[in-house]
């Protein structure tokens, strides 16, 4: 990137809310149904029909507002955004114009090792449009209205983002926040989270914004990163060549990695917003707003920071643990037993347990594993009652059965042998059988001790305490 320029990015994220029903009618809010089966006269926009607002949509949106530190407008309304398109059955979208439900917030995101605060201009609620299926065989386009009226929140950021990496971090954080709050499935591949990207560039050090270009059809967060990188480079090239950036809308083509002009400023639509006369003003009582605020859990970025500070975990591990609400909750439950070191818990969760979750494509809460059992197992390792290897054997059992690790150890005879007499006999036997290694050690090749301990472990059928064995092997050779 040309360091003479600074990139300025603003993002508009649309997220579908995971309510039971649509925003203005009782049809199911469900992805993947057969075409035109989750429809009724209201969401099909039949003459004479009227919208009735779903209260859950309002509550979910307020939760997001609280999570993004917004001011909540408890008295607000809906407005119509008028334009013609065949996926919009009423020829207007019911949205919010001058009084969004939430406004003036911010989101802290982690970029590298730094926390970056990105302003959130507003969050408003609106209805989704239908889907158009392009079908050459039919000689036209097919319209499926199942998605019409699915509730959306639109989250608009301030132009505070200064790089593609920051944009990616912001989007990832929005994504995990939606999941944490349980208000959206946030599945990119199903289109339940989408974003529009506004990009401009300006000479480094300049206070004024450059002309911004809006990009549509950015269908994933990694695509957002590519699209921003491409568009910033395009604008810089134009400027370097003495050209001028035009205010326009461009369409991102992620396959080709380029964008093309969709419409210029002159073609900008006049949406003729006005208050929807079918929906009156609505008010959310302050007690309700406060109650929703109290229900907001600690969010991923805060958790990451806390794990780093309190548990001395690495940034990467902290973020990984905090990423998933269930995983983070489980991690914290294990720590709360006070039985074991956070670092060990983190290693077990992000190591062996993560592997299982990936294999089974499930959540940690889907396992029979309890925080109590995992804590006990780890503490037994820390107390050297069992070896790490024995721990893995115990884990295999407790993943799928709520069973006391101590019992498993007994049943399987996994307890480490720490009896000096028994271990001495093993050490003597191993040293006697490995004269060459002993000689190497004496000649300074001290790393053969690992080999010798391994032999001792083998002799003890895995039950020897490896730390004790190591000390004893060294002591025995030195006293020879």
């Amino acid at each position: 990137m040309n360091s003479n320029y600074e990139i300025v990015v603003g993002l508009e994220v649309h997220a579908e809310l995971s309510t039971e029903t649509k925003i203005f009618c009782g049809c199911k809010n469900k992805f993947g149904s057969e075409v035109n089966t989750n429809v009724c006269p209201v969401c099909m926009g039949l003459p004479g029909t009227l919208p009735v607002l779903n209260e859950q949509v309002v509550e979910y949106a307020i939760k997001m507002g609280h999570a993004l530190n917004c001011k909540i407008n408890g008295t607000t309304k809906h407005d119509r955004k008028n334009y013609f398109y065949p996926d919009l059955p009423k020829a207007y979208q019911i949205s919010q114009f001058d009084i969004p439900l939430c406004e003036n917030g911010y989101l802290d995101v982690l970029v590298g090792d730094n926390v970056k605060r990105i302003g959130v201009t507003r969050i408003h609620i609106e209805e989704d449009a239908g889907k158009l299926i392009h079908d050459d065989k039919m000689g036209g386009t097919l319209a499926d209205y199942n998605r019409c009226g699915v509730p959306l929140i639109e989250i608009v950021s301030e132009p505070d983002i200064r790089s593609a990496d920051e944009a990616k971090a912001y989007l990832d954080t929005i994504h995990t926040t939606l999941l944490y709050l349980g208000i959206s499935d946030a599945k990119m591949q199903e289109g339940s989270v989408r974003c529009d990207v506004n990009v401009s560039v300006r000479p480094a050090g300049s206070q004024e914004f450059g002309t911004r270009v809006e990009m549509k059809n950015v269908n994933s967060f990694s695509a957002a990163h590519r699209a921003i990188t491409y568009e910033a480079a395009r604008q810089i090239k134009v400027l370097e060549a003495g050209g001028e950036i035009l205010q326009e809308t461009r369409r991102w083509d992620d396959v080709k990695g380029v964008n093309v002009l969709l419409r210029s400023k002159e073609d900008a639509q006049d949406y003729r917003y006005f208050p929807d006369p079918d929906l009156l003003t609505f008010t959310v009582p302050q007690e309700k707003i406060d109650e929703l605020k109290a229900s907001i859990p600690e969010l991923p970025v805060a958790k990451t920071m806390r794990y780093m500070a309190d548990y001395k975990l690495s940034r990467a591990d902290s973020e990984l643990l905090a990423l998933n609400k269930n995983t983070a909750g489980f991690f914290e439950a294990v720590i709360a037993t006070g039985k074991c070191e956070p670092k060990s818990v983190s290693n077990w969760i992000l190591g062996d347990i993560y592997k299982v979750l990936n294999e089974r494509r499930c959540e940690i809460t889907d396992l029979a594993l309890t925080a109590e059992n995992l804590a006990e197992m780890i503490s037994l390792i820390e107390k050297k009652t069992i070896s790490n290897a024995a721990g893995k054997t115990v884990l295999e059992v407790i993943l799928d059965a709520d069973k006391d690790p101590n019992e498993i150890i007994k049943e399987k005879g996994l307890a480490q042998v720490s009896d000096t007499g028994a271990l001495n006999a093993i050490v003597e036997k191993v040293l006697a059988n490995n004269e060459k290694a002993v000689a190497d050690f004496k000649n300074g090749k001290t790393n053969v001790v690992g080999f010798l301990v391994g032999q001792c472990m083998k002799e003890s059928r895995g039950k020897g305490n490896p730390a004790m064995l190591k000390d004893m092997v060294v002591a025995a050779i030195e006293s020879m």
């Binding site: 039949l46 009227l50 059955p89 020829a91 003729r272 006005f274 006369p277 009156l280």
Partner: protein, 482 residues
């Protein structure tokens, strides 16, 4: 029994309750009457005779079994063609919806059916309820039964004409700027626009959503009340509807204060109309009402505010008619844009197109504040003015239409003159208040004149009481022998 069709709904109910007639007999009489007279009145776009006889039969069976029935059970009702009727064509008077068969019933229609009413047909109207004469219908122009060369008023033209011509006792109309009251006045019947929110709008094909309201039309006050009682009340499908408890009305105005606003008796109102209304006021005064003068100075602006708000909402409400999902689809389908343009230009009549353009204009970027927002602010001021005036009295009396019914074609090329006729009625829609037309005599051409009684929100009982007092005192309203 002879001439069953000419009975009032109240009389029909009595005979049905006494088992002296059946609903099938009444319905057959009504159908016969419509078949004989409707070529002259043209009150219906679609007849529902077959279904109506079925509904009549069902009501008779219920009565025969001795089951409790609602007041309307077995009584024929006409429904304006902008209220959706499941499996019965609903056109809103437009070519655009010439073949539209709704898959659902409007809430008012559901209520009528639940009460066992007999839905006789769908009445002629100005296209999308935009008009004050009935001449803007895409199908036919309904006639005024008092003189079939004259308009019945609009937009609920057919509903007014069919009741005035004694084809049916009851009809539903809708009123956005006077569309129930004005045709009622021009046809010499009773018509009431309820308080905004008193009757569900679900299933009413929208014109100006914040002003539209469904209401009853009938030849007597009792019949009007009977139909209103059946349709009022909150509906979960309409977020703008309100809880409403119907309460019985009286017939005495003794001690009531009635306001006369001077702004409504100015130059624009014909001398004959004024004279009859002052005479009607005297009748009420003689019955013990106290007459006070009130002032509603913003009335001059109400017409502007009305047309701005109604057309803005209409331009948005009518966007859905695009040739895609239902209704008329244009002759050109080469591209999406072509389909939109040909569907809408061929499907909508000129007055509708004019109002769409005006609506787009007042909402467009750069004009919103000067027109739409200002009109909404003015609406607040007008509401406040009415509230204040109605603190000084129980109800207000005004003229309803500046003139009586004019001849078909007389004003049809001058939209401004046509729009100006709504001056006395639109303020109520702007203020969201209820109002009723009460017939009060005839002009020199023997065309009906009516006065308007309006009151505070949810004061329908008061309005019906005043209307009933007048009706009783003058010995009932004249019915056109036809």
């Amino acid at each position: 029994m002879d001439k069953l069709y000419s009975l009032t709904a109240t009389q029909m109910k009595d005979l049905l309750d006494k088992k002296e007639v059946t609903s099938v007999e009444i319905t057959k009489s009504v159908i016969d009457r419509i078949e004989k007279t409707d070529k002259d009145i043209q009150a219906y776009i679609t007849y529902n005779f077959e279904q109506a006889l079925e509904q009549a039969k069902a009501a008779d069976e219920k009565r025969a079994k001795g089951e409790a029935v609602a007041d309307l059970a077995g009584i024929p009702v006409a429904v304006k063609d902008n209220m959706c009727t499941k499996d019965l064509r609903t056109t809103a008077g437009s070519k655009m919806l010439g073949n539209f068969v709704p898959p659902y019933n409007a809430t008012v229609v559901e209520k009528l059916l639940a009460d066992g009413a007999v839905i006789i047909g769908k009445t002629t109207m100005d296209e999308f309820a935009m008009g004050s004469s009935g001449e803007n219908s895409a199908f036919q122009v309904a006639r005024n039964p008092w003189d079939t060369s004259r308009v019945p008023g609009g937009s609920s033209s057919g509903s007014a004409a069919t009741v005035a011509a004694s084809q049916v006792p009851l009809a539903l109309g809708s009123d956005t700027g006077g569309s129930i009251r004005q045709p009622a006045s021009l046809c010499g019947i009773v018509g009431m626009k309820p308080t905004y929110g008193a009757v569900s709008r679900y299933g009413l094909i929208a014109y100006g959503s914040s002003l539209d309201q469904i209401g009853p039309m009938a030849r007597t006050v009792d019949d009007t009340a009977m139909l209103f009682k059946a349709i009022c009340g909150r509906d979960k499908m309409d977020a703008t509807s309100k809880d409403y408890t119907y309460t019985p009305y009286g017939a005495g105005v003794k001690g009531m204060k009635l306001g006369l606003p001077k702004e409504y008796f100015g130059e624009g109102i014909s001398a004959e109309v004024k004279e009859k209304i002052y005479a009607a006021v005297e009748v009420l005064k003689a019955q013990g009402a106290e007459i006070v003068e009130v002032s509603l100075p913003s009335t001059d602006y109400a017409l502007s505010a009305y047309y701005i708000i109604a057309c803005a909402e209409a331009s948005s409400n009518l966007g859905r008619y695009d040739g895609v999902k239902y209704g008329y689809t244009g002759s050109k389908r080469g591209s999406l844009e072509e389909m939109y343009l040909s569907s809408r230009s061929e499907g909508f009549g000129e007055e509708v197109q004019r109002r769409i353009l005006l609506g787009a204009y007042v909402l467009s970027s750069g004009f919103y504040d000067a027109y739409y927002k200002k009109a909404k602010m003015l609406q607040k001021a007008i509401r406040k003015e009415f509230e204040d005036a109605l603190k000084q009295c129980d109800a207000i009396i005004t003229p309803l239409s500046p003139t009586t019914a004019f001849r078909i074609g007389e004003k049809s090329d001058d939209p401004v003159a046509m729009w100006a006729g709504d001056i006395c009625t639109v303020t109520l829609n702007i203020a969201g208040l209820p109002g009723i037309n009460v017939p009060c005599g005839f002009d020199s051409n023997n065309m009906p004149i009516g006065f308007q009684v309006l009151g505070p929100k949810f004061s329908e009982t008061t309005l019906l009481t005043i209307a009933k007092c007048y009706e009783n005192t003058v010995g009932g309203f004249a019915v056109k022998e036809f």
